[in-house]
C-alpha cells in the first residue's frame, strides 16, 4: 500500500528508509531490545557519518547541516516506523533542542558539535519519581559548591537512554528557580549513578539517575531554565508525534497486507466490512496524524507562535491514532498478532509508551485548550 496522501517521501525519506531496512530489521530490533545498552554503536556511527542524521537540524556553525525540523520529522517518522533502537530521540530531539533553546553560546559550542557528529550521546533528565514533565515536578537540588561551581543532589527518573549518555542535561531547582545543568554521564563522575530500568517498551531504554553532590555546569542563566525546557518539551512533543505517525503508518500497512492475504470463512478477511471499516478509520486517522505532525514540524521549523498549540494538538492526536492503529493491528491479526514472535506487540508497547511520555493525550488536550485561549 502506498499511503494516498503520502506523496512527500522525498530523497531524505527514501535514503533513511533504505538505511533502516538494512540496519534495523526486525531481528536487530529484537536483539537490541533484549540488551541493556539498547543500541548498536556501529550503526550509530554510520547514522552520523554516512547520513549525517544527528546534525540534520543543528545549525552549520555547530557542526550540523542546518536543515530544519521538517527534515528531522521525516527522519523520526522513518525511525518510528522501523522501531530503531538508538539514542537518537534523546540526543537530537531532546538534548540538542534544549541546548539550542538555552541561548548559552558556550554550551552550544561545547556540546552541539559532538551531538552532530554522533560522538556525544546526550539526553535530558527532567521528570522525577512523580513522573511529571512540568516545572512543579522539578525538585532535584542545584547548589553552589564552596569550591565554586555547582553541585546537584537528587534523583531523576524516566530518563531516556540515561545509562548510555555521555552528556546529561539536568533540570534542577536552585535558589533562583529552575535551571539547566550539564553533567558528564560517561566517566566515573563522583556521586553519579545511572541505572537502566526494565521498560514496557523494550525498544526505548530508560534509566534512573541518582545525584549526590555531582559537579555540574550551569547552562544558560540561573533560574531562567524553564523557558528553554518548555520549548524543548514542545519540540519533543512534535518529534514524538512524527515518530508516532511513522509507527502508525507501519502498523496500518501490516494490517492491510494481512487482511488481503489471510483467508477465513472462505474469503480474505479484508473483504469483511468489519475489517474494511476498521482499516478505513485507521487510514483517516493516520493521514490526519500525518497532517498534524507535518504542520507542527513546519511551525517548529519556522519557530512561529503556532508551535505550542500545534505541539499539543499533534501529540494528543498522534498518540491516540498510533495506539488505536497498533491495537487494531493486533485485533485484525487475531491470535497470531498476540504472539511474541509477531512484531505487532512491539508497536503496541511503543505506542502506549510514547503516548504516556511527556504527557498523555488528555493532558495535551487540556494544554491545547489553554494555548488557544479557552
Amino acid at each position: 500500500m502506498s499511503a494516498p496522501f503520502n506523496d512527500d517521501h522525498g530523497e531524505l525519506r527514501s535514503t533513511v528508509r533504505r538505511f533502516l531496512a538494512d540496519k534495523s530489521p526486525e531481528n536487530e530490533v529484537r536483539r537490541l531490545m533484549e540488551g541493556t545498552e539498547g543500541f548498536d554503536p556501529v550503526v550509530w556511527k554510520q547514522m552520523a557519518g554516512q547520513l549525517g542524521l544527528m546534525g540534520l537540524a543543528i545549525p552549520e556553525r555547530y557542526g550540523g547541516s542546518g536543515a530544519s525540523f521538517v527534515e528531522l520529522a521525516v527522519v523520526l517518522e522513518e525511525m518510528g516506523g522501523a522501531l530503531l533502537c538508538a539514542p537518537y530521540f534523546s540526543s537530537v530531539a531532546l538534548a540538542a533542542s534544549l541546548l539550542l533553546a538555552s541561548g548559552d553560546e558556550t554550551a552550544k559550542g561545547d556540546h552541539l558539535p559532538g551531538i552532530a557528529s554522533g560522538r556525544t550521546v546526550a539526553t535530558v533528565a527532567l521528570a522525577e519519581r512523580s513522573g511529571l514533565w512540568s516545572e512543579d515536578g522539578v525538585t532535584l537540588e542545584g547548589s553552589r559548591a564552596a569550591t565554586g561551581g555547582w553541585r546537584l543532589t537528587g534523583e531523576k527518573h524516566y530518563v531516556l537512554d540515561g545509562h548510555v549518555a555521555d552528556l546529561v542535561l539536568v533540570v534542577a531547582r536552585t535558589p533562583a528557580g529552575v535551571s539547566v545543568f550539564g553533567v558528564d554521564g560517561a566517566g566515573d563522575t563522583d556521586g553519579f549513578t545511572a541505572t537502566p530500568v526494565p521498560t514496557l517498551d523494550q525498544t526505548r531504554k530508560l534509566a534512573t539517575l541518582s545525584f549526590d553532590r555531582v559537579p555540574a555546569r550551569l547552562i544558560g542563566a540561573e533560574g531562567r531554565g524553564w523557558a528553554a525546557v518548555a520549548k524543548m518539551l514542545d519540540l519533543a512533543a512534535i518529534a514524538l508525534a512524527a515518530e508516532q505517525v511513522g509507527g502508525a503508518r507501519k502498523v496500518l500497512d501490516m494490517a492491510v497486507e494481512y487482511a488481503k492475504l489471510r483467508v477465513q470463512f472462505g474469503r480474505p478477511i479484508g473483504s469483511f466490512q468489519a475489517i474494511k471499516h476498521k482499516c478505513a478509520d485507521l487510514l483517516l486517522e493516520v493521514e490526519s496524524a500525518g497532517a498534524a505532525a507535518g504542520y507542527a514540524a513546519w511551525a517548529a521549523a519556522e519557530d512561529n507562535d503556532e508551535v505550542p498549540a500545534m505541539a499539543s494538538l499533534a501529540k494528543s492526536y498522534c498518540s491516540e491514532a498510533y495506539f488505536h492503529a497498533a491495537a487494531e493491528n493486533i485485533q485484525i491479526h487475531g491470535g497470531i498478532g498476540y504472539t511474541w514472535e509477531h512484531p505487532a506487540h512491539l508497536y503496541f508497547k511503543r505506542a502506549k509508551s510514547s503516548e504516556i511520555l511527556f504527557g498523555d493525550a488528555t493532558a495535551h488536550r487540556e494544554l491545547l485548550a489553554q494555548r488557544i485561549g479557552i
Binding site: 496522501f5 521525516v74 487510514l283 483517516l284 497532517a291 498534524a292 504542520y295 479557552i374
Partner: protein
Amino acid sequence: MGRAPGDIPPSRTAAELFRQDIREWIRTHAPAGLTGPPPRPAEAAVAEAAMEEAAAEAAAVWERSLLDARLICADWQPEYGGSGLSPQESLVFEEECARAGAPRIRRGAGERIVGPTILAHGTEEQKSRLLPGIVSGEHTYCLAYSEPEHGSDLASVGTRGTVTGDEIVITGRKAWVDGAERADRALVLCRTGGPDASGHRGLSCVVVPLDSGNGVVRRVVRQADGTADCRELSFDRSRAPLRDVVGEVNGGWRAVMTGLAHERAGRAAGRHLGFEAEFWDLVREADKTGRSRDPVIRDRLAWAYTRITLLRLLERRAAARTGAGAVPGADAAVTHLLSAEYHRRFGEIALDIMGAPALVRPDGDGYATDRWQEALLTGRAGTIRSGTAEILRDVIAERLLGLPKEPRAARRRPS
C-alpha cells in the same frame, strides 16, 4: 528532500501571492454592510447570516462585482466564465472571503457537481453552451440521481430514459434532491439500456429542463430539522434534447462517479471556515455560563478544535494534490467523512454545553430551531447524504487501501 507543497504552508507560493491581491480586491469591492469589520473567522457565520437580511441591493452589487471579476466558479477556465484559479487559489479566496466577512456566492449543485461533470465528460459544445449559464446564474441546477427505492444504490436506478429521435424521454421518480425548489434544470440519471443492461451498465446522465410543461412534478418533503423544501421530483414523459446527455448514452456511470467525487469534495471544501467560526461562538457561550471551565467540556472543545484544524490541513493537502492534476477521487470521501462526522459530534457537544436551554426552541412558525439545535439535527443528515458513512468507508478501504470487495449476491434485476 522535504515535502510537497500543501503539506507545509508555503510562504511564497503563487497562492500566497494571490492572497495579497484578492484580499485587496475584496476590500475594495465588497459593499459596506456585507463585510464584517473584524478579520476574525469567528464572525464569518454571523456575517453570512446578516447577509441574508442585507439589502438585496448590496448583495446584487457584490454578485455583479464577482461576476465581472470572474470570481464565481472561479476555478473554471476563462472561456466558461471563471478565472482558472488553482485549487490552492480557490481555497485562499474562500479563506479571504471568510476573513473579510464577505459571503461567497455559489451556484449550488451547478457549481459543485454538474459543472465538474460536464467539464470531465461533456463535449466542447456542451461546455461552451451550458457552463456560462451556471456561472451567470441564468440556470440553476439540481442533481436527480437517487430514487426512493434505491437510496445510495445508484446502480439500481429505475427511472427510464427512452431515446426517440433527437430527444430522450424520461419517466420516473427521484428523491433526496437538494435545491429542487429553486432549480430550473436537473442532471438526471436514468436507465437507457436494454433489458440485459442491468446494474451500472445502461445508465445515462442527461440535463432535463424542469418546466412545468415538461411533465415534471415537485414534491415538498419536510425534514427532521423542521425545514420543508422540495426534495422529490417526478418525471412523466419529460423530454430533453439528446445533445444534453453528458457522457455517452448508456455510458453515464463514469459521469456519476465523477459527480459524486466532486460532490463530496465540494461538501468538504471550505467547511472548516464555517466550523471554526461556529466553534468560537460555542466557546463564547461556554464562557458565559462558566461551562468552559469544566475539564470534561474543555477536553471536548480541544477535541473539536483538533478536528477543525485537521480538516483545514487535509483540505490544503487535497487542494495541492488537485492542483497537481489529480481528479478528486476516493480521497474526497476522506475529507467528506471527516467533515460530516465532525459536525455530527459537534452538534452533540454543543447541546451538552448549552444544557437545559437547549430543551427550548426559539419562537417561530413551524419547527424553528436555534443554531445549536440545528447543528444537532442537520448533523445527522451529513453522514447520510452524498453516500452514507458506511459507503464512504467501503470506498476508502477498497480504493485507497485496495482491500477486496465483498462477494456480491446475485443482483436483482432493477424493475
